[in-house]
Symmetry: C2
Subunit: 168 residues, 2 copies
């Protein structure tokens, strides 16, 4: 499995290739909640915190130190959790039409149960068939910070139309 | 680098460990735009499409086949792009407070330029210092589907407060 990919330029006429070495979702939570969220993700998913940086310049009247970014690892994957300052511009808050994060595991039920025990809310039952994971079992949980996680069987390659659909 | 992580149960009293084998952000775009979005991500980031599944049950009066899920690879990472049906419930549309996806690369400027050439909009200049990536250079682009991508130098481990901050 290659750790890098060449973003080659031949296709669109640019000459320079770009190599990406990591892709990390960054989740912004309500200001002051990042530390709590990190603890939740440790408990719910077994994530390990590998680094944390704080906002270096806080105003004197702001007692709470804000988390600029905490990096959490799930195996060879990572995601980031950050406090969202109240004065952040809208684009981050409204990024895109919608998103979830898919977590692949052989034991969907156990993972859902563990997340729910940690404080997530299950949305519907674990069911068969899902486009995100192309077949297999899938459960959906919403965490206390509003993020939705699809917990599903490892993806299998499949042809168009083979996957069943569940309502998203 | 281990590909799996044990979500051990000792910490919160459950007995079963859960292993996650992949973490994949899934991006929902306006209904009917997923195919176009896939082409954009190929062009902007050099992503490779590895699989696609379609909604198996479309009503006769809906001419457009909807993408249930297209899986795109960036090196050893993957993300998913899906059409968001108009009748989807709110949780997916409003998932969380905010999020971006961080792409790490040694050549931030070239990656930003390439994304912009493909149709993304740069938000501000490439600057030094960022919490998400813990130092180094960082640029921000918004893609035509509303998602924000932070393009930054590879993360380095650092102590609290070492990273500079840029406004998010």
């Amino acid at each position: 499995m290659s750790l890098e990919v060449q973003n080659g330029g031949a296709e669109n006429g640019t000459s320079k290739a770009v190599v990406f070495s990591a892709v990390k979702p960054q989740l912004f939570v309500e200001v002051g909640k990042a530390n709590e969220a990190v603890q939740f993700y440790k408990s719910a998913f077994g994530a390990a915190e590998v680094s944390r940086s704080m906002h270096p310049k806080r105003k004197a009247d702001q007692e709470l130190p804000l988390v600029l970014s905490a990096e959490l690892e799930l195996g060879s994957y990572a995601f980031l959790v950050s406090d969202l300052p109240n004065d952040s511009p809208a684009p981050v808050k409204t990024s895109g039409t919608g998103f979830v994060i898919c977590l692949e595991t052989e034991d969907v039920e156990a993972a859902v149960t563990k997340a729910v025990n940690a404080g997530a809310v299950a949305e519907g039952e674990v069911v068969e068939g899902d486009g995100a994971c192309c077949g297999g079992r899938v459960g959906k949980v919403k965490d206390p910070y509003g993020f939705v996680w699809m917990i599903c069987s490892p993806a299998k390659k499949c042809a168009d139309g083979e996957a069943g659909a569940i309502p998203i």
